[in-house]
């Protein structure tokens, strides 16, 4: 298909390979649909995805902006299943005194809000303790706060 297009549109597509025709500048690091995430709890499913080298993908963000922040709920596709999860750390530029993580971390939860794992293996932002609602259930699993 690409070869066909190239033969028809020689002026639009120069001799560069297709992958070099679009810009790849550093992104805003937003968590949006199809963002790859990292499971940081000790759930079986999370471990399986790490071993298989198939990190989960965000397929929906449960807020009005569509951009996931710390404490937001997301729907993820993990190992062929749909699971809900809470964001517990983002790569995005943070405000002063708030941690910025090197990866977009999530903790898996069941549909009733109970966490799937029993422990979170990395530090969790300290200001999550001010939050209300179902997020408080996963804070009990945190080992460290940053």
């Amino acid at each position: 298909m690409a070869a066909l297009m190239r033969s028809r549109l020689p002026s639009l597509l120069p001799s560069l390979p297709l992958s070099q025709n679009f810009s790849t500048t550093n992104s805003l690091q937003h968590i949006i649909k199809l963002t790859r995430l990292r499971v940081v709890d000790n759930s079986m499913l999370g471990n399986q995805s790490v071993v298989a080298g198939k990190p989960p993908r965000c397929i929906h963000v449960y807020n009005k902006t569509g951009v996931g922040r710390v404490g937001d709920k997301v729907l993820v596709a993990i190992m062929g299943q749909k699971k809900r999860a809470f964001i517990v750390g983002v790569k995005q530029r943070a405000r002063p005194n708030k941690p910025r993580f090197d990866s977009n971390n999530i903790v898996l939860v069941e549909d009733n809000g109970a966490p799937t794992g029993t422990r979170i293996r990395v530090p969790v932002p300290s200001d999550m303790r001010a939050m209300e609602g179902d997020v408080t259930k996963i804070l009990a699993l945190a080992t460290k706060f940053a």
């Binding site: 002063p96 005194n97 910025r100 300290s126």
Partner: protein
């Protein structure tokens, strides 16, 4: 003659265009403020009914020569449309007041630091974070620094505002410099280069001794990286091991003439005379803090 006129006309057209563009760029953001020149003219005018009364503050001794490198945040922002003499002075006074309450020791990019922050949700109401300083930025009361550490294989960075009232204590555990001004490349390096234990004990630095430079050469991990580090002239990084075409491209986009661009230097820095004036005032401010501290100590005893 015609040639001369043409050149003149062309030049005036160019400068007019330049002015229009630069004024537009400034006025979008600062449409509701007076320009610094206008305010300054009013302050110094003989006709103004509320003429500024200058107080000549006595400076007992000039500042030590290296003070501007130790406390660079006291220098005003060199961006011309952000300048305001009075605002800068008021900010510096607030900074002395904050420093009298919470001392901020000398530190540089590359120093290992610990910051204790007020945190209403933490047990004990404080949160302590230890890390290597990877950036120092901004001017005046907005000055900030960023600490980086790797905890449980998780890279973490926290940016602190130096003069935030939430900061309870700033400790410098290892006073040292690195070969670069910013260490953002640690994000692309293995975890061992940015890991600092939280129970690291402070090593005191003898006052007056030169600050040691840590000449560690960091070995970066494989690409993709956060930035094209081959274009950054980094000194604290080992050979990047890239194909030749990357360096050729870096050479093509490099701007080696910028270090000889006197106007660029003039626009992006504070001139030496003004720096000296500010730093003399800062040294006097620090002496005042020290006097105040001694007085309080005496009163207590």
């Amino acid at each position: 003659m015609a040639d001369k006129l043409a050149t003149l006309g062309f030049r005036s057209f160019l400068s007019h265009q330049f002015l229009k563009r630069s004024v537009a760029a400034v006025s979008c953001r600062y449409a509701n403020t007076l320009s610094n020149e206008t305010v300054e003219k009013h302050r110094t005018s003989t006709l103004a009914h509320d003429k500024e009364q200058k107080e000549e503050k006595k400076i007992s001794a000039p500042a030590p020569p290296g003070l501007k490198h130790v406390h660079p945040e006291f220098l005003p922002n060199p961006t011309f449309y952000r300048r305001d003499r009075i605002k800068e002075k008021l900010e510096r006074q607030d900074m002395y007041r904050r420093r009298a309450v919470c001392p901020i020791p000398e530190f540089y990019v590359g120093s290992i630091m610990a910051v204790t922050l007020a945190d209403p949700y933490a047990s004990g109401k404080t949160n302590r974070f230890v890390g290597i300083c990877i950036q120092r930025a901004s001017y005046g009361l907005r000055a900030n620094f960023t600490l980086r550490n790797v905890v449980d294989n998780q890279g973490l960075e926290i940016r602190y505002d130096m003069y935030s009232p939430l900061i309870q204590k700033v400790e410098v555990l290892r006073l040292e410099k690195r070969l670069d001004d910013e260490l953002f490349y640690l994000r692309d390096a293995p975890a061992e280069f940015s890991t600092v234990p939280f129970n690291l004990e402070a090593v005191s630095h003898p006052p007056g001794a030169p600050v040691p430079v840590n000449t560690t050469k960091v070995k970066l991990g494989p690409r993709p990286w956060h930035e094209r580090w081959e274009r950054r002239n980094l000194r604290g990084v080992q050979d990047l091991g890239l194909p030749e075409k990357f360096y050729e491209k870096a050479k093509k986009v490099a701007k080696p003439w910028e270090e000889y661009d006197l106007m660029l230097k003039y626009r992006t820095s504070i001139n030496p005379q003004e720096t000296d004036e500010v730093m003399d005032e800062v040294a006097e401010g620090f002496r005042e803090i020290e006097r105040k501290r001694r007085r309080e100590k005496l009163e207590k005893s």
